[in-house]
Structures are given as C-alpha cells and as structure tokens.
Subunit: 141 residues, 2 copies
DNA sequence: AACATATATGTGCATTAAACATATAGGTGA
DNA sequence: TCACCTATATGTTTAATGCACATATATGTT
C-alpha cells in the first residue's frame, strides 16, 4: 500500500521499481500522541503499540521519534509525566495531557479539518482534468 | 488562517503568540505543479501565479522551490521543457507533462485519496473523544 | 552465577525538504 | 542610461526524520 502519514523512505526512488509516493503529513506524530494520551494516559512504550490504531496501515514504529516527541511536548507544557515504578519491568514515564495540550490538539484537529478540505479540492480538480471521460473517477489502490 | 499545505514557519512558536499549527503535506508542491501543467503547459513564472488557485489560502510563492522542483521533475522524466523565445520579455522554459509524469500524478492522486481517509479517521476519533458532550462537533477555524 | 529476553527510555548521525536570501540576465519604457 | 519588470536560477541554514545504537531494569532459564 503506497500510503503513510509519515516516513521518509524512497521518495526519490532509484532502484528499478516505481518510486513510492507517500503522503506525509509533517509532525503528524505529535497530534497522534496527544490524541492517544487524551483517550488514556500512558507511557511511551505503550503508545508505540497503540499508534498502529491510528495509521491506516500498521507498521513498525520508531521509538526514537516517539520519545523525542514526548519530551518536546513536555518541554512545551503540552503533557506532563511522572515516573511509575509500580508494575513490573523498569520504571516508566507515565504521560498525561495538560489543558494546554488539549488546546493544542484542538488546534491540530481544526488544521486537519482544513487539510481534508484542501486535499479534496486538489483531488476534485485532478478528477475534473484527468478522469473526465472515464466512468466516474476511480483511483488505483 | 492557521492553515497551509506546506511552509515551515513557526511550528515551535516562541513569541508571545500561540504557535501556529499548519498541516504540512511534504512534497505537495510536486503534484500541484504536475496538475497545473496537465491542465495547461506553462513556464515557471506563470506557475508561481497559478499555484494560488490550488492552496486554499493564497500566499506568496517561493520561486526557488518552484524552479528546483521543475528541474527535478525534468531530471526524473516527469516533465519536459523547451525554450520559448516568442512573446516578449526574456526567454522562458515552457514545460509540459510526459506520460511518465501523468502516471506519477495519478499515483499522487491515489495517495491523496488515502490521505483524506486517514485524516478523516483521525478527526472522527478526535471528535468521539473530545466533542462527545458538545452539540455535535464544531471545530474552530 | 551466568545468560537470555522482554520492557522501557533514550542518543547520535546522515539525509532530506523547506524557508529565505541572493545572483544573473534580458526587455521595456522614461 | 537607469529603473523596473520578467524570468530563471543557486546558496545557506534549519528542522524533521529514519535508522542504528546505547542504556537500564526485571524476569526467567540453565
């Protein structure tokens, strides 16, 4: 499936194969983490698992990116954390969203709303130009 | 309007103001140029103007990005150009899309199609969690 | 006691895209 | 000739990211 919300790989192909086109929304990991944390406070490792619920196509998550984002969000006051030594295994940072973070997620949501409209506009314009003759706009996978 | 399909500015705010959140689709300039060129062959300077038809919010375009993208697309065989010395003013490179380029645009279109679905999924999930009580999901601008 | 494994949190490095500034050059009109 | 518009580029810097690697603790196994 030629689709991801992030991931940089192979935009400028090179191998024999077709270059894969992925629509990458930059920084999209941030709102995803905020949304997951609003739904339920959690620690990084758990979020890495739950992220696959949000991407359409589950794939291996990058722990580095997740932790980096969580720390940055905390620096910005969007989430706060406390060490959780209960349970088994090493201590974990339990994150929860602050009121600031909820506002930021709301801002993301409205940005996504706009984005959907713009992408639809692009797509309609594409269909109008390139799929006129065809039997009403089917796009490959 | 807190919205753009590209542009990096001020993600990590800093001033007194709210950090602006823009949903940035990476490389989106590429499919926009392809679409505009499919609609009508043109040269760079003209495309810079016509780009504002595609973004929801017109704004100053970056000539550097446009020309670089056109050259890259040409290197990749997606468009081809010829010098046009007719008309007045300095010579211009007139670009048109190749069959390869049309395929690439089609691939972009289906990526955009997927992207819309994924963004909608995100938004629905957000609404479900954060706008339950409210009078049915209004999002600020 | 040694070792493997699962959980959990990070750092460092190379690549890439984008924003912004600057350069080059011909054409037009005062 | 000088200013200005058109037109096409290049250079510089920063931010985001993918990937590989480093660290630490608890648990289970031999």
């Amino acid at each position: 499936m030629p689709w991801r919300l992030r991931h940089r790989k192979r935009l400028e192909a090179g191998n024999g194969e077709e270059p894969i086109i992925d629509l990458r929304v930059e920084r999209f990991l941030e709102p995803c983490l905020l949304l997951l944390l609003v739904e339920k406070p959690a620690h990084g490792y758990e979020l890495i698992d739950r992220l696959n619920q949000i991407w359409l196509v589950p794939e291996k998550q990058d722990p580095g990116a997740v932790y980096r984002n969580l720390r940055r969000l905390e620096r910005g006051g969007m989430v706060k954390s406390q060490w959780d030594t209960s349970g088994r295994g090493p201590a974990k940072r339990l994150y929860e969203v602050t009121p600031e973070g909820e506002k930021r997620l709301a801002a993301w949501a409205s940005a996504v709303d706009w984005g959907i409209k713009a992408l639809i506009k692009f797509l309609e314009r594409y269909k109008a130009t390139c799929l006129e003759a065809n039997e009403d706009g089917k796009l490959g996978r």
